[in-house]
């Protein structure tokens, strides 16, 4: 389980996170919603060790991982799927998967897991030899998720997986996120697409300018009037 306590992060003089606390219980899907610039990505990047926290702690399964370098966070069992997919365009699909398993030494296990992600994403198997840069946006997102799975994470953090994708593709991606969760991977999902995220989530936090302003089960927030107004595109006039 991931436990964040009073986490503060600043870029230069700007406070990006003003002391947030949240928990992601084992096996659950937790989502963090909020507008642009609320600090959602910063939260994930701080967990991953890309950004240093000013204060506060990040614990994973009882282990303090605050300020640990990215490779150690990954070894602890947390994989991050970065915003904007960020597949390696100059590497083939298969190589992208292998890079995902970079820290692993078990060649047999890696081969098995490549078959496993091919089952989850048959499209990738068809295109395993293609350079990742030539894939469509949806395929790249699938590859990014598959690459994240290749480290065999206990928890996966997804940063805006729906960004820039067609609605049908977004549905596919969310279906797969649900499926991965059923296979035992804990999910921390950051989304601007609050509607989709709240539907799939067991628990949700709302982040506004570096502070958590609301929390509750996905269903609670989905039916909350103020959330509807602010994040689900329902205006007062439309009611």
């Amino acid at each position: 389980m991931l436990k964040i306590t009073d986490l503060k992060v600043a870029y230069g003089g700007i406070q990006a996170l003003r002391g947030i606390s949240l928990e992601v219980p084992d096996g659950k899907i937790v989502t963090l919603i909020g507008a642009n610039g609320a600090g959602k990505s910063t939260t994930l990047r701080t967990i991953s060790g890309l950004v240093k926290a000013a204060s506060g702690t990040v614990e994973f399964n009882g282990q303090d991982i605050t300020g640990k370098p990215s490779n150690q966070v990954l070894e602890a069992g947390i994989a991050q799927i970065p915003e904007g997919r960020r597949v390696f365009p100059n590497l083939s699909v298969l190589e992208n998967l292998k890079v995902g398993a970079y820290l692993r030494k078990d060649a047999d296990g890696i081969a098995k897991d490549i078959e496993w992600v091919y089952q989850l994403f048959p499209r990738l198997k068809e295109r395993y030899w293609q350079l990742a840069g030539t894939l469509s946006g949806g395929e790249q997102q699938m590859l990014a998720v598959a690459r994240g799975l290749m480290s065999r994470p206990k928890m996966m953090m997804l940063d805006e997986p729906s960004l820039g994708l067609a609605p049908l593709v977004v549905q596919d991606i969310f279906k797969i996120i649900g499926e991965i969760n059923k296979q035992g991977v804990t999910i921390l999902l950051v989304e601007q697409n609050a509607n989709m995220a709240l539907k799939i989530a067991d628990y949700a936090y709302v982040l506004e300018t570096g502070t958590i302003t609301r929390e509750g089960t996905g269903l609670e927030l989905l039916n909350d009037e103020s959330i509807k107004e602010a994040y689900l595109g329902k205006t007062k006039a439309a009611k």
Binding site: G49, N71, P82, N90
Partner: protein, 294 residues
């Protein structure tokens, strides 16, 4: 036959010097590919390799001194990166470049101090420096060996880049630092490997180059270094095959110009070529188009 006898040496010399430029150019192009840094000190590392053999071979047999020189050159390249570039990883790119220029002058001045500014005679490596006859033309054996050795080393390098884990990591890091970190890649190690490979090849290049042009002075690295850099730009900086092809083209062209009797202009040609490339094809023969990330 007469014509061949007259011109073959120039052609051979062209291929040979092209191979030597290629070995140096790879160091420029690989470092640029990963760090987007033009490592101005690279030509001076090449010079240091030459100087080291001068001193080491004086007291050690070649079968010890040559491997030792290669090892020390690798160590020098590795150290330069760790001391002068790594602390500036998050600094603006210009700072790293200025640091590289600083290292270049530092190495030159250390060499000046050590040699007293005198040109040192490079030792004649037996077998490599022997004279052989090819189609009636006299030349050193190193001239014949260079292109073959260069190509073998480059094939090995390309295999390493395309078919090993560390090669895969290098390609990943060259595209995206941050995502590479998220994959657990230790970027500093990958960068060190790049400098180690570049310095090793520059060390091999120095053995071949100085067997042909036997005077080692503190600034001797500048000209071959610059030309190798032009070759890397010509081929498309960041591309290993591009740098190699660029280097051979420049080496051969320079010697054709010499064969035509315009020796004085052979250097000018190379730099005129650089200007033309930058005007008409700034990404070089195989360079990728620069796309800004949104």
């Amino acid at each position: 036959m007469q014509w061949i006898q007259q011109n073959l040496p120039y052609f051979l010399a062209g291929i040979s010097v092209g191979g030597q430029y290629a070995l140096i150019a790879i160091g420029y192009t690989m470092v640029y590919g990963i760090l987007r840094l033009i490592n101005f000190a690279h030509g001076d590392i090449f010079m240091c390799a030459g100087l080291m053999l001068v001193y080491l071979s004086a007291s050690l047999p070649f079968y010890v001194s040559i491997p030792l020189v290669l090892l020390l050159t690798v160590l020098l390249g590795f150290t330069v990166e760790r001391v002068a570039y790594k602390p500036l990883r998050k600094a603006p790119r210009m700072s790293v470049m200025i640091s590289a220029i600083g290292v270049s002058y530092l190495l030159q001045n250390v060499a000046l101090y050590v040699t007293g500014g005198l040109s040192k005679q490079y030792p004649a490596i037996p077998w490599l420096s022997d004279t052989v006859t090819v189609f009636g033309a006299l030349t050193k054996r190193v001239t014949i060996i260079t292109p073959f050795l260069t190509i073998i080393l480059i094939v090995l390098l390309v295999l390493l880049i395309n078919h090993t884990n560390v090669g895969m990591a290098m390609r990943a890091v060259s595209k995206d630092f941050e995502t590479s970190l998220l994959m657990g890649i230790k970027i500093d190690n990958v960068i060190s490997v790049t400098f180690i490979i570049g310095s090793f090849l520059a060390g091999v290049g120095s053995l071949l180059f100085f067997s042909n042009y036997t005077g080692v002075t503190p600034t001797v690295g500048a000209m071959p270094g610059l030309k190798a850099f032009v070759a890397a730009v010509f081929g498309g900086i960041g591309s290993v095959p591009g740098a190699v092809i660029g280097a051979f083209i420049i080496g051969i062209c320079e010697n054709i110009i010499k064969a035509m009797g315009w020796t004085t202009f052979s250097d000018a040609f190379t730099f005129a070529l650089l200007i033309l490339i930058l005007i008409f094809r700034p990404t070089g023969l195989f360079g990728e188009k620069v796309t800004d990330k949104v």
